[in-house]
């Protein structure tokens, strides 16, 4: 690769060394904001220069407004946190009206995370968003409770996961990313099912289900009893799943779970991720994502390599 070094130094976050392509879209760099941890972008205004990111995955959007769970919704755990937000969101119409234009103007790539309680709800929100300008891809959060199947998540059953992806595929031509839940025996089964159903990429991992007991009250601390574990604590599990899925599917992987540094992001990339997302770490240090981009750039420069060349290298042989 020939690169004009001086020019590049000034615009490192969009250096060709960092470019990555994914589900039919090209990202200026591989670092995304993870869904649900960056709101609709504007909330971090003043704290994060979103123009330097690869893109933003929005908070989950449903066709109708969802109220979310009763508080308490948060708890801190060793090197991590539990959340039970319950996918509170204003609904697709309000999202499109209130947030989409800012996102489309400010951010290099807009990935809208979509949620539903039935296959019909997933299709409805996808069809609605398909008609809106400014969206680069949809990320289907299949970890939502499937209310027709007694609340077990769509993402824990290969058939249900495939059914959601197929239904959404039918109503939109946007690139589709299936966001997988780690709460399964064999994540490669789910990954293969969504690949066969037409997903252009997979995102993993979503949070691991956990809980905490409030010893004083002798009751679960979260009103919802269970919450999703995220943050550095889960990174080894996330990396393992990225590694496994890389060996099982051909579609690109967006890796996430506990990333706080470029060093962490490199591990995901070497395990097989073409892009990464930073979630909980943003709460601690809003500038984490931009620091990760810079760190990846420095690494590529020092090591005379590029993100594209690093994807999956830890597997040794060719993919």
């Amino acid at each position: 690769m020939t690169v004009d070094v001086d020019d590049e130094e000034k615009t490192w976050w969009r250096s060709p060394l960092l470019r990555t392509s994914l589900a039919g879209l090209t990202l200026q760099n591989p670092v995304l904001a993870a869904s649900g941890t960056f709101g609709y972008g504007i909330e971090y205004g003043g704290l994060v220069d979103v123009t330097k990111l690869g893109g933003i995955c929005t908070k989950g959007v449903s066709i109708d407004p969802w109220p979310g769970n009763r508080p308490p919704r948060l708890a801190e755990t060793p090197a991590g946190m539990l959340n039970a937000i319950g996918l509170q969101n204003p609904g697709a119409a309000a999202f499109a009206e209130d947030y989409l234009s800012w996102l489309a103007e400010q951010t290099p790539a807009v990935v809208v995370n979509i949620v539903g309680r039935t296959i019909e709800e997933y299709s409805a929100v996808a069809a609605f968003l398909d008609r809106k300008a400014g969206i680069d891809a949809l990320e289907i959060n299949i970890s939502c409770p499937n209310i027709k199947k007694g609340g077990l998540s769509f993402g824990t059953d290969p058939q249900a996961a495939a059914a959601v992806v197929k239904a959404v595929r039918r109503v939109t031509s946007l690139p589709l990313i299936a966001k997988l839940t780690p709460n399964v025996t064999d994540i490669t089964q789910i990954a293969c099912a969504v690949e066969a159903a037409g997903a252009d990429a997979v995102s993993l991992i979503n949070t691991i289900t956990g809980m905490i007991i409030d010893v004083n009250r002798r009751r679960p601390l979260l009103a919802n009893v269970f919450g999703g574990l995220s943050g550095p604590a889960i990174m080894p599990v996330a990396l393992r799943m990225v590694w496994q899925v890389y060996e099982a599917v051909k579609i690109p992987i967006i890796g996430m779970g506990g990333i706080t540094s470029a060093h962490d992001a490199l591990q995901f990339i070497m395990a097989g991720a073409r892009a990464v997302a930073v979630g909980s770490a943003t709460f601690r240090r809003p500038d984490t994502m931009v620091e990760v981009v810079r760190g990846l750039y420095d690494y590529c420069r020092e090591q005379r390599t590029s993100i594209a060349a690093l994807v999956g290298v830890a597997h040794g042989g060719a993919h």
């Binding site: 649900g36 941890t37 960056f38 709101g39 609709y40 504007i42 909330e43 971090y44 205004g45 003043g46 704290l47 908070k59 109708d64 407004p65 969802w66 109220p67 979310g68 009763r70 508080p71 308490p72 919704r73 948060l74 708890a75 801190e76 060793p78 090197a79 991590g80 946190m81 959340n83 937000i85 509170q88 969101n89 204003p90 609904g91 309000a94 209130d98 947030y99 800012w102 943050g231 550095p232 706080t260 909980s280 943003t282 709460f283 601690r284 240090r285 809003p286 500038d287």
Partner: protein
Amino acid sequence: MCQDDNKRQFITRITSHRQLTRDIWELRCDLPSGMLSASPGQFVMIEVSPSLQPFLRRPFSIAYRQPAPSGKGEEFAVIYRVVGEGTRRLKSLSPGDEVNIIGPLGRGFTWPRRDDRRPVLIGGGLGVPPLLFLAQRMVASGVVPQFFAGFTRADQAVGLDMLSELGVVPVVATDDGSLGRRGLVTELLPDPPPGDLCVYSCGPLPMLQAVASWCRTGRIPCEVSLENRMACGVGACLGCAWPAAVPESHDRDSRRYVLICKDGPVFAAEEVFAFDR
């Protein structure tokens, strides 16, 4: 969506750190020039540990601002109780150390007001510090507020020196009578409340509810400052939700909750306390 973009991340320096009571400390830091807009009721998120444990920042109200001892610029104070690992870490920091903060955050108290109601400040325990900053501002604008302060015991009292510097004479109550009157601070309030007051309150939830009820009987405006566990502090994670009192106008499901970090921490009492349910 319009967003208040004053909030920034700053590395600031500790100017002093002293123990006020057995478990309460006062931390003063340089006020970054980017935080000059910080107003009473607003808060900062402090990174308490260089390691990943504890992972999240901790929210603390701004207790007051004052000229820096160096003569250049200002400093701000945070008064906090050591309750867990995060505050234990904070305690171990020394003057000269750097701290990473995000601020100013949230919506503070409404002051100055458009009407000429007489302000009454009612604080309980560590609810007193944010009201010090409000009292500072009121005195600076020529209004000396009434101040009611409740503590569990005399040795838990904080902020009284600052109030006397300001010329504010607080009415104090302690649970055990070891300072001021014995009993709850809300028992000291005149009943019924004079109709020309406006009330600002911060403290434990039962106290705030009692204060809000009292205000309601007199139909006087009441602002309360709430707390909740926080992750982001900026309205992004939706973690600090609090049930809204659901006035009719809020017909959409998604408005069932307010966010303490962004819509608050200061609310008009009727936004968050539903008395009619």
